[in-house]
Symmetry: C2
Subunit: 211 residues, 2 copies
């Protein structure tokens, strides 16, 4: 509908959207989440408060959109995982990149703020799952599926469970700041997950766990 007002209007709208999201990201990384206001985001973006409220209902919605924009590449498509055919190498690459991401102080603040909102807001949690977690999980699962077809994972491996065991420990360590996130840790998670879900080396079939 906005296109009725012409391409200039659309471009201006998109520029203002980008400015708002960049302002939200900058503010959340600069100060404590609870101190960031929609007013401050508007001021930083050089737009009126109402411009933000016309598009997003709350501060958490803007911050969430700002995070979401980070995971889109230039043409709005979400990322895929590397597939060189070597599952262990590919997963270690991805897990090491994840460790790097979580140890980046500005990312840390943003994700910590988002997790606070998600833990206490079931609707935002659902949106997070739908728009961010699920597409990422699907990309990861598709990499595991191709490994499964290549015989690098057990034919009956539960890929959802494998993903959880690969990622959840890193997430919990970060959230609770219980131990440092290191490259060695990323590698150890991959090794243990491959031991748990890799093909059985024995001739005998794996024990079925049901479910």
């Amino acid at each position: 509908m906005s296109n009725e007002r012409g391409p200039d209007h659309s471009r201006r709208k998109e520029r203002s959207r980008q400015a708002i999201l960049a302002a939200a990201r900058a503010l959340v990384t600069e100060e404590a989440y609870e101190k960031v206001t929609v007013e401050a985001i508007a001021a930083r973006a050089g737009v009126g408060k109402q411009t933000i409220y016309r598009r997003w209902p709350s501060k958490s919605a803007v911050v969430f959109a700002a995070l979401l924009a980070l995971s889109e590449d230039a043409d709005g498509q979400s990322v895929t995982l590397p597939d060189t055919g070597d599952l262990e190498a590919d997963l270690k690459l991805v897990m090491r990149a994840t460790v790097e991401e979580f140890t980046d102080p500005s990312f840390d603040r943003l994700i910590r703020a988002l997790n606070t909102e998600i833990a206490n807001d079931a609707a935002l949690a659902a949106e997070y799952r739908e728009k961010l977690a699920r597409p990422l999980d699907e990309a990861k699962k598709s990499r595991l599926r191709s490994a499964q077809k290549a015989g690098q994972l057990a034919p009956d491996a539960d890929l959802d469970l494998a993903l959880e065991m690969l990622y959840a420990p890193l997430f919990q360590r970060w959230l609770h700041r219980s131990s440092p996130l290191t490259t060695a840790y990323a590698d150890a998670l991959v090794d243990a997950t491959l031991r748990a879900f890799g093909p059985s080396t024995e001739a005998e079939p794996r024990k079925s766990t049901g479910a």
Copy 2:
């Protein structure tokens, strides 16, 4: 020192402490955490606000103490894990109990509130680790260590990593409400962890307890 004022004074102090902790637990399970105030806790416990502030610096400190009190048994000792000699059965028992705990609505609210505080307060996170997470982890690790001595886990198994892979997926599933927590899920986590950290030489097939 309070004993100089006699056993009656000590008993009164302990009664008021218990009343405050019970009031904090009740309020946090009844309404949204951010709406709970120290005033409301004091009113519910039948004490003055200052009685709370003399002992705890903030709302989050009282709520944390209330949670901590739940994990102590009658004589203030923390729990130990069952050790029947059958690691798989013992872990499934514990993980099923954990699933039950996390699906209890009143526990859910309390732990969700606490996790919000922990994620955003590094000092509280440290206290949580020291007083709650570490003692529990030590109890769990001591069970894994006895299994390791009995040859049920690999001699070089990283027990910290094993614990994380056992518990973190359940915690993340609960925090993000991404999938239901079930008995089958508890069992699957145990099975996968035992595959990842069990002894590599499969001289005898692993046994299922049937459930």
